[in-house]
Symmetry: C2
Subunit: 319 residues, 2 copies
Amino acid sequence: MAVYTPVSDDELQTFLADYDIGEVTSFAGIAEGVENSNFLVRTTRSTYILTLYEKRVKSDDLPFFVGLMEHLADKGLSCPRPVPSRDGATLRTLNGRPAAVVTFLEGMWHRRIQPAYCRSLGAAMAEMHVAGADFPMTRANDLSVAGWRPLLEACGMQSNQIYHGLYNALNQELGFLERVWPTGLPTGTIHADLFPDNVFFLGGEVSGIIDFYFACTDALAYDLAICLNAWCFEPDGSFNVTKARQLVTGYQTVRTLSAAEREAMPILARGSALRFLLTRLYDWLNHPEGAFVKPKDPMEYHQKLRFHQSASGSAAYGL
Amino acid sequence: MAVYTPVSDDELQTFLADYDIGEVTSFAGIAEGVENSNFLVRTTRSTYILTLYEKRVKSDDLPFFVGLMEHLADKGLSCPRPVPSRDGATLRTLNGRPAAVVTFLEGMWHRRIQPAYCRSLGAAMAEMHVAGADFPMTRANDLSVAGWRPLLEACGMQSNQIYHGLYNALNQELGFLERVWPTGLPTGTIHADLFPDNVFFLGGEVSGIIDFYFACTDALAYDLAICLNAWCFEPDGSFNVTKARQLVTGYQTVRTLSAAEREAMPILARGSALRFLLTRLYDWLNHPEGAFVKPKDPMEYHQKLRFHQSASGSAAYGL
């Protein structure tokens, strides 16, 4: 929950005077999102989200993120559409932070995932991949296999505070993934953070996708692997193959996976589990004393990783 | 900024199934308010605020607060209107907290106060006093003169951490106020916390009053005295008599102050300054280490108190 940078009514009015979006009628900080400061802005015309990008988002990457949302919205995808100011800029500055106004999306994210949600999610993800195919900008995925060793080394032997032997286990897994990580899979623009809180639903169907601030250019199937981890495990840690099957089936109603993509899925799932394990581990070991945002438990992803390590090929994922 | 008690989509849906307010289309925690957890709920019909009352609000007082909002809304005042569930209840329970759904009010609160805002505020306050005159419930003001000594004693000699001699100065002021505190002034239902963040404006005019969780039965003029403190001082600590004059003039366009009320204003202003000084002092001395909500500076109200101590009668307030 987060408003890191306050914005006063006067600051807002001055900032929005450069937009053709009507008169502001209401303005409130939103207690969602852990990376940026978000405000809900109602005007005489519509409802918008004002985002101030905090330091965890690199400002060099913002044109990619904002450009991608614009591209996807132009293609008819339901995602926040950046609203240009009168001079055409979609990225501006407010209170020393890069800032953007985007359209508000109706919908709610679900904490308890039904299998049918996974089917709708799969189809929406594939539509996003298809719509993003001709997006001209690229951004390397700095949280893919090449980025994991620096993360592990930054955690170092402190990792064993979580449990004895964790560092060695992760080091071994990482060595394995570095050797077998698939290359040559179909690539494109992926979301790379499609967790349930970034997917809105209305009446059981996906109504919108938000939070493109990890989006990058990478193997399309890796987005699916992330969702196998984020959507298909039960709260007790067990893997729900029905949800996985719904996810990949929904995906393939829009875009068929190649044989290489299907074969790579177990490795991609291991890699994506390790990626979230490592970032959570790092945050766990490095969060400031008394911080308001409690870091997420890295062990949840260790359990997921162990499932993938023992999975018997892509059939385990409903493929 | 605050969502103390999280509410999941499932919990929300189950709770709202008992209301006739349409289907939920969007749901977000709001980073406003320091006492309760607030959520913005959009439905196919309208927009609402869901409030979960946290422990600082006594549940015994909730029927008074919710009943008052209902009464004032019935009289045409622009304040949140409690929405009853299908069985007629406006106060229910969600996640172990008392909870209410109220209508959403358009408008924004202003950080930088223009004199004209004070005029509109004065008129809106008087309308609230008139509309509340026949509200049948009563609630003692436990933060009026009888409540100040226990607060001061709870702060005790620790007060001198703020500055040497503060305890004695406050003790002397309190003794004086206990002797001269006016009785017999016209009483009724007052808001008792009409700070700028509780008053919404649209186009320079008050569009709504919120946050009735300090409302009580007390001298009507005391509400004005609170606003003299909360609205009529400049950021540099100086008193702006133009704003004060606008405030009392606006008020008297709706309800004329009696001679006794006008005469009592300097004492009421001193008392209200002491009241906020004491609660801020207590919070300052007792806030938990590393707490997210930074307590407000008690010395701001010490400076205001000193102004009132040296004020030359009610003329100093534009009366």
